[in-house]
Amino acid sequence: MEAAHETKPWKDWFAAYGPKLLLCARQWTRSLADAEDVVQEAFVRYWRHQRGLPGDPQALLITSVRRAALDLARREDRRAAREEFANGGLDDRDGCFEALPGDGDERRLEIEAALRRLPTEQREVLVLKIWQEFTFDQIGALLGIPPNTAASRYRYALAALRKELEPLCHG
């Protein structure tokens, strides 16, 4: 990810990376509204205080998003929210992805449903790997797990999705 410079308008930066941040936040919050609150918190903190820091801003932001999601869960409803955090808490009504044209959207809905059924620890690794394009080292550092564990969870997640989803027939 390109570093955000002082001169680059935040809107351009957010248009490029906001969707990925929201997708991650969605894995750790109970609703889309909560996810947006968390993204706002993390992004404002980054833009005000951290954008001049060296290193990968995306990793910094995702860490900030995760921390803000945990804080939110603790603040709102300590016990119940933590359970929901642990269980993913994804709401069926909120899609995580853009709608696809025609029949493709049915497939998207299938995938979203299958993703919701994944254990949280597998789903968060999958999201970080596929849509954030993090390495397993980065994922391990973010989640506090060894990179090999991250790689295993990723493989389990893909295998579980493949079981749930009919292979896509092309042509």
Partner: protein, 177 residues
């Protein structure tokens, strides 16, 4: 990784995460614009979550300051220097504080200066007459005091008191009539 998993990976990659809502964009715009108006770069009005952080930071700083102050009062860095006593030669039962002229040099936050010293005589006992070198008659008198010294930090107006017992034995010439 086998081919079907690779296909699945590619299929997932084709899904595009949904865009944040216009409401979120508007909130960000308002928050960042407010920060640009009201604060220097790097500081601005806080969101609710940021305010929570600030409250915790302030509370932590207050607790640290309290612990540091408590530690300081309980364990003075060094034993007090010999203060200037305004008495000690003439026993008296009255208590009195004798301020010491304050030093007027530069003051630092951690510098304490002696400002008062008091000595309270609480017991006096005359022993039996004795003879020095077997010939000179003298009286031996024991005075018992509590000395109290006071230091003050001019920078913070904090003060420190130290009390210590002291025994003094005087040998006075005696004459017998």
């Amino acid at each position: 990784m086998d081919e079907t998993l690779q296909d699945l990976e590619n299929e997932l990659l084709n899904l595009r995460p949904r865009r944040p809502s216009a409401a979120l964009q508007a909130r960000l715009e308002a928050t960042l614009a407010a920060s640009a108006r009201t604060a220097p770069p790097g500081r601005a009005a806080a969101t609710p979550l940021a305010r929570t952080w600030q409250v915790w930071l302030l509370a932590s700083a207050a607790i640290l300051a309290l612990v540091a102050a408590t530690t300081f009062w309980r364990t003075p860095a060094s034993p007090p220097a010999e203060p200037v006593l305004a008495q000690a030669t003439v026993p008296t039962a009255a208590s009195a504080a004798h301020p010491v002229a304050p030093d007027t040099g530069p003051v630092s936050e951690s510098h304490y200066r002696p400002v008062a010293a008091a000595s309270v005589l609480y017991d006096l006992k005359e022993d039996d007459d004795v003879y020095l070198s077997g010939q000179t008659p003298v009286r031996r008198v024991r005075y018992r005091y509590v000395d109290t010294y006071t230091w003050k930090n001019p920078a913070t107006n904090a003060s420190l008191k130290w009390s210590v017992p002291r025994d003094e034995i005087r040998v006075l010439p005696a004459s017998f009539h």
